[in-house]
């Protein structure tokens, strides 16, 4: 059972993600997670204030079930076969984390940064609240996120998705090389 505890290498995970996308296509659906947040807005009544949310979310119900599954998948790993070690990022990355003063501790995310008491500090607010807002806003503006554009869209050789992924990297590189050092140094 050791393979369940150990982190999985990229050449296992990548093909399995492709398999998930193909399975959804076979089920007559397309892989794209960020649109579930639009459905959640509609369920919450956002259709009363914006035309964008007046759509038949029930046709997207399968996707809400899919993300409920994703939640359960995370829960199962954490309950039964979590990796007790810190995420094995490269030496150079550990050095960068040290430079920024971000603790490299066991677990999937740095909880010294992501925690309730940090929410109302400037770095905590920017990372969690502003960061989350940009993810939601940007994904809808671009018409998709990593699953819809970087995986499904690129697999279908769509130019719009290539543009979106170029954008993901412009933004991501700017945050990592300019905003994070400014926030933490």
């Amino acid at each position: 059972m050791d393979w369940l505890i150990q982190p999985w290498p990229w050449y296992v995970a990548g093909p399995l993600i492709a398999l998930i996308m193909i399975t959804l296509l076979w089920f007559g659906k397309s892989f794209g997670v960020s649109s579930t947040m639009r459905s959640l807005c509609t369920i919450g009544g956002a259709g009363n204030v914006a035309e964008f949310f007046k759509f038949d979310w029930k046709a997207q119900r399968w996707n809400l079930i899919f993300i409920a599954g994703a939640f359960i998948g995370g829960f199962l790993v954490n309950q039964f076969f979590p990796d007790p070690n810190p995420v094995a990022v490269s030496e150079a990355t550990v050095q960068e984390l040290n430079n920024l003063g971000i603790a490299h501790e066991p677990g999937l995310i740095p909880t010294s940064l992501f925690n309730w008491s940090n929410l109302l500090t400037v770095p905590g607010f920017i990372v969690m609240i502003v960061g989350g807002f940009l993810v939601g806003f940007g994904a809808r503006y671009a018409g998709g996120c990593t699953s819809g554009h970087a995986i499904s869209g690129l697999s279908n050789l769509q130019t719009p998705s290539l543009l979106a992924v170029v954008g993901f990297f412009i933004g991501g590189l700017f945050t990592t090389h300019v905003i994070l050092p400014w926030l933490f140094k």
Binding site: P9, A18, L25, I65, F114, N115, G131, G136, G143
Partner: protein, 137 residues
Amino acid sequence: MKYAKFLLVGIFFGVVLTKSEAVSWYRIFEMFQFQSFHMYGILGSAVVIGALAIKMIKGLQIKDISGSPISITPKAKSITRYLLGGTIFGLGWALTGACPGPLYILIGNGLWIVTVVLLSAIIGTFVYGLVKNKLPH
């Protein structure tokens, strides 16, 4: 029962993304530092295999389980919305270390603080819907 299969694929998705650490803030930070092949390997191999599979589906006109031909709706042509929207998304992705799928998966991993990030992302989605018509697309 018609939804059970989506639940199962979703569970599999959550397991794969957790075990491969693709949901990890550290891995996204490392990716944008170009200090490891891990995330590029995951995305790259998924896209290469996905592209071959879609080529095969189109070539052989494979049908889905309900018997209709598998078709992928192409995205509308534009440059601004993809590049600008993508950049905004990327700014957020590198801050939170998580795109939408991983947000749900991290909460499942018992990291309840991530509900704040998810709620904020839902608010971001909502605000996009409010201002959509004023934005260049």
